[in-house]
Structures are given as C-alpha cells and as structure tokens.
C-alpha cells in the first residue's frame, strides 16, 4: 500500500469529523465555559471564573428535588418498560408472520410519530375533564376526577408510552439471535414452558434488556416535551428547568451549569452500564 492510500480514510472521514467538531464538540466546550461565569440579576453575565453556579446546584434544596425527581422518574420508567417490554417482545417473536407485521406497526410505529403528537394524546386522555376520568366516572368507579395531568403518575405513564418501543426493539433484536434449537433441546429433555423461559430464553435476552434500559433511562432523564406538557410548571425536571433558565429567567450560566451536570450524570450512567455489559458478557461478544 502506498502512503497516500494510508491517509485516504482520514480524508474520507474529514468532512463528518469537521462538522461534528465544529457544531457539537466546540459548542459543548463553550457551554462548559459559560457555566463558569458569574451571573447577577441586575448586571447579567459577569466577568471572571467561578464555581458559584455549581455550588448553588449542590447546596440548594430546590435543585436537589428536581434532580431526584428527574432520575427517580427515569429509573421508574425504565423498570416499567422492562416489565412490559419483555413479555411484549416475547409475544411478538411467537406470532405468525402476518400478525407479527401488524403488531410491529402498532408497537413500533409510534416511534415514527412526533413526541408532541403522542404527548398531546396523553394530555387529552389524562385531563380532569379528560377521557379517562369521564369514562371512569360514567361507569361509577370513581366519584371525583383523579388528578393525572400535572402529576408524577401522569408523566410516567406518558413517558413509558413514548419510550417503551425502544425497549421492545432492543429485546426483540436479541430474541432474533436466539437459536430455536436450544428451546427444542430443553423441551425434549422434559423442561416445561416456565423452565424453558427462565433457564434458556431469559438469560440470553439480558444483553437486550440492558441495552434497552440504557436507551430508555438516558432518553427519559433528558426528555423535554412530555414532562413539559404533562408535568407542567409544577412538576419540574432538569430539562424543563434548563429551558426556564435559558428562555425564561435568562440566567444562562446557571442553565449551562445544569446542562453540564445533566450531561455528566447521563454519560456516567451510560458508560458505567456499557462497561458492565462488556465485562459481564465478554464471552458473548468474542
């Protein structure tokens, strides 16, 4: 190979790399530096470098509550997605191919529809005069409307709806790699359906569950539209707080510090999880 051939891959990837560096890496570095500026209500963004914004986030109860809510919500959404996504992916893999393609459109299709549209549907369903409350009252299960709009529960339900297709997709992918012969072997050795699921199928789809959880957790912690519309002003999460700091109170340095903190936590969780999966399943990847 000639030397010019050796530099070819770099030239080929240069345009993408330049775009990514200029419009992702550089802006992120600028956000990091912005988060270190002081801010004053009357004079705006000041000079010099300070860790005040981070100190505020660390010591202020107000921010503790927001971070705890955001990541508590993300964890709950992830767990619910595993609990309903796992059986759903399993059913999908057992359907006849005609039913399967219909079911795939229903289960995965919503991914292609804007989050705003899906969240609007939940707002209509969950409101005090919403369809769910009216229906429950009509059949006499409840007398008073249950508050679901602007609540934690309502937001979790809507987030699960938005994110569960990612979980189904990840588990479905690992189910497709499953060799049906292993199930048949277990069956011929006298294992019942439950044992086959527990001892044969489930251990092999755990990598799919983990990668699905990673996606759902990260997307849920950084979700904006759903908590903003269903949760509203009263149920702030980190992304909606960043929005308010930037476009509402115009305290950009504080907003930037919140963004950096969110990024660091999400990245740390993702990388830790990745490490764990690679370590635990290294024999699978080899």
């Amino acid at each position: 190979m000639t030397p010019s051939r050796n530099t070819l891959p770099f030239w080929l990837s240069a345009p993408s790399l330049l775009l990514t560096m200029a419009f992702v890496a550089l802006p992120l570095v600028m956000t990091l530096s912005l988060s270190l500026y002081p801010y004053d209500l009357t004079t705006g963004i000041g000079d010099g470098m300070t860790l005040t914004n981070y100190r505020d986030i660390v010591i202020d109860e107000y921010f503790h509550a927001i971070f705890a809510r955001t990541f508590g919500m993300a964890m709950l959404v992830t767990v619910i997605c595993i609990l309903i996504g796992l059986p759903e992916a399993y059913v999908l893999s057992r359907l006849s191919s005609r039913w399967r393609s219909v079911s795939l459109v229903i289960v995965l299709g919503p991914l292609l529809i804007s989050v705003v549209v899906r969240t609007l549907g939940w707002a209509v369903l969950l409101g005090n005069e919403g369809i769910l409350n009216n229906a429950l009252r009509a059949i006499g299960i409840i007398d008073e409307p249950i508050r679901l709009m602007f609540t934690f529960t309502g937001t979790v339900v809507a987030l699960v709806h938005v994110l569960v297709p990612f979980m189904v997709l990840a588990i479905w992918a690992s189910l497709q790699k499953l060799d049906p012969a292993t199930e048949h072997a277990a069956e011929s050795l006298g294992a019942n359906q439950i044992t086959i699921l527990r001892r044969i199928v489930f251990p092999q789809v755990i990598p799919g569950v983990l990668s699905g959880s990673l996606i759902v957790f990260a997307l849920s912690a950084s979700a904006f539209a759903t908590p903003a519309i269903i949760g509203g002003r009263r149920l702030k999460v980190v992304p909606t707080t960043i929005y308010d700091e930037f476009l509402g109170s115009l305290n950009w340095p504080l907003g930037a510090a919140l963004a950096v903190t969110l990024l660091v936590i999400v990245l740390t969780c993702s990388l830790a999880m990745n490490r764990f999966v690679e370590w635990r399943y290294r024999q699978v990847f080899q």
Binding site: N6, P9, L12, S13, P15, S16, L17, L19, T20, V24, P27, L28, M30, T31, L34, P87, E88, V91, L92, R94, L104, V105, I106, V107, L108, G109, P110, L111, I113, V116, V117, T119, L120, G121, W122, V124, L125, I131, N134, P165, L169, W172, Q193, I215, A218, S222, A223, F224, A225, A228, I229, P239, F246, W252, G255, A259, V260, L262, L263, V266
Partner: protein, 265 residues
C-alpha cells in the same frame, strides 16, 4: 413450537391498546364540531380540517420542516458516505476514535445540544437563521445515517471491487459503478431515518429556532403549551395518517423493524 398461552395474548392486546389509545383519541377529538376538546361530542364535522387551511403559520411551519429535514438528511448522507466507507472498509490507526467521535452526539441529551448550539450560533451571528438550524439538524442526524451506512457497507463482498480494478477500472469508476450501487440500500435507509428524525425533532429546535424559523413540532409545542384545541388535534391526525402511509411503504421495501433499529440510539 407450542401455542402461545392465552394470558400472553391478552397482555399483547392490552399492550396494543395502550400504544394506540393516545393516537386514536387525538383522531377522535379532531372530528368534533365544537370549539373545544371534549369526548364524547354530539356532532361530528370536518371543520377543524378546513381550519388547517386557514392557519397559514402552521402550513408554513410544515413546509419549513419538510425542507429542513430534506436538507439536513441530504448533507448528513453526503458526508456520512465517505466516512462510513472509511470506517467499514479501512483499518487505520485511530479508527475507533473517529467512529466514537462521530457517534458521540447520540450520547448527548438534546436539551444540552440545544442550549450549546443556541449560544454558539448567537456568537457566530447565525442565530435565528434557517441555515444555522439546518446545520444543527445535520449534526444530530449524522450518527443515524452513519450507522446504517456502516452496517450496509460491512456485509459487502470486497472481491467485486477487486474484480473491477483487475479489469482496468479507475478507483472512481469502481466507486461509482460497483461500490455505490451496492451500499445504496444502506444509504437510502440512512437518508430516510435522518429525514424522519429531523422532521420530528423538538427538544433541540425549541432552543435554536426563532419565531421566524419555527419548525412544525416547535410551533405545535408552543401552541399546546398555551392551549389544547381541536386544531392541533386535526394537524396531529394529518401527521399520523402521513406517517402511517410512510410506514406501509417502508414495510414493503425494508421491513419496519430494520428501519426502526436505525432509529434507536
């Protein structure tokens, strides 16, 4: 294979209802003849569909989003093709680093990208311009295109290119006549998933778009945050129907799960 237990089928049907409920509800409330969102309603009408025609700002936002998504998807595909080829077909020092860097935007929450790009574009004097928004969309859809192109180019028989060279074709001819046609399915799938992701993108655009460059999701979000009326429901229904048609076409040519695998992170 043994039969699927009844309990699982019941679960499957409940799951499908859960997935469909909000979409069906949006379609239902859009057909009210009242001026507000309520179910059940007495009279059905299409007045809120006619109302879309008298909402030029939504129609403008729709075409802006279409143009933006097409531009972002095209630029992203054009730069992702060479990068994907380099990563799939060449072993070079730093290959993993290059791949990691190019895929890294997937790991960054869009709200963080949104504020970063808002400040960056303001600093370089490109805030509230359409091209600033287009570049912002390009960099966030680039990783999706790149992944599909790499996946398409990896399962590719390199001896075909060797055959081309041995018959005297130039590198450029080999690329245009042999390699490009073979990776075209991956390229087309990548463009499409980029288009859809850009068209639906809200969280970053909410920061980067200004009043004059509002995309359709941003316009709808701002409307819903203020008031929920049958107009956004009818617009949403139009979007749902359009997506449904797209899905049927996609399923014919690709298989829906294959396309959607590219959408996940």
């Amino acid at each position: 294979m043994t039969r699927t237990p009844r309990a699982l089928l019941v679960f499957h049907i409940s799951f499908a209802c859960f997935m469909l409920a909000p979409l069906v509800v949006v379609a239902l409330v859009s057909m009210t003849d009242k001026g507000y969102v309520a179910l059940p309603f007495d009279g059905a009408s299409l007045r809120w569909y006619r109302a879309i025609l008298h909402a030029p700002d939504f129609i403008d936002a729709f075409w802006r989003s279409i143009g933006l998504a097409a531009t972002a998807a095209t630029i992203a595909t054009l730069v992702a093709i060479p990068a994907g080829i380099a990563i799939a077909w060449h072993r070079f020092p730093g290959r993993d680093v290059v791949l990691g860097l190019l895929l890294s935007p997937l790991m960054v929450p869009h709200v963080v990208l949104g504020i970063s790009l808002l400040r960056f574009l303001t600093q370089i004097g490109a805030s509230s311009t359409l091209w600033g928004l287009a570049v912002a969309h390009t960099v966030i859809v680039l990783p999706y295109v790149l992944r599909l192109i790499i996946a398409g180019a990896t399962g590719f028989d390199r001896s075909l290119a060797q055959a081309g060279y041995s018959l005297g074709a130039s590198a450029w001819t080999v690329f245009l006549r042999i390699e490009l046609p073979l990776i075209l399915p991956g390229v087309a799938g990548g463009w499409l998933i980029a288009f859809i992701n850009s068209f639906d993108e809200l969280t970053m655009s909410v920061f980067v778009a200004s009043a004059t460059t509002e995309t359709l999701p941003v316009k709808m979000y701002n409307h819903i945050a203020h008031t929920i009326d049958p107009l956004v429901a009818s617009i949403s229904t139009v979007l749902i129907v359009m997506t449904l048609i797209l899905m049927v076409i996609l399923d014919r040519f690709y298989g829906l799960d294959r396309i959607l695998a590219g959408k996940s992170k």
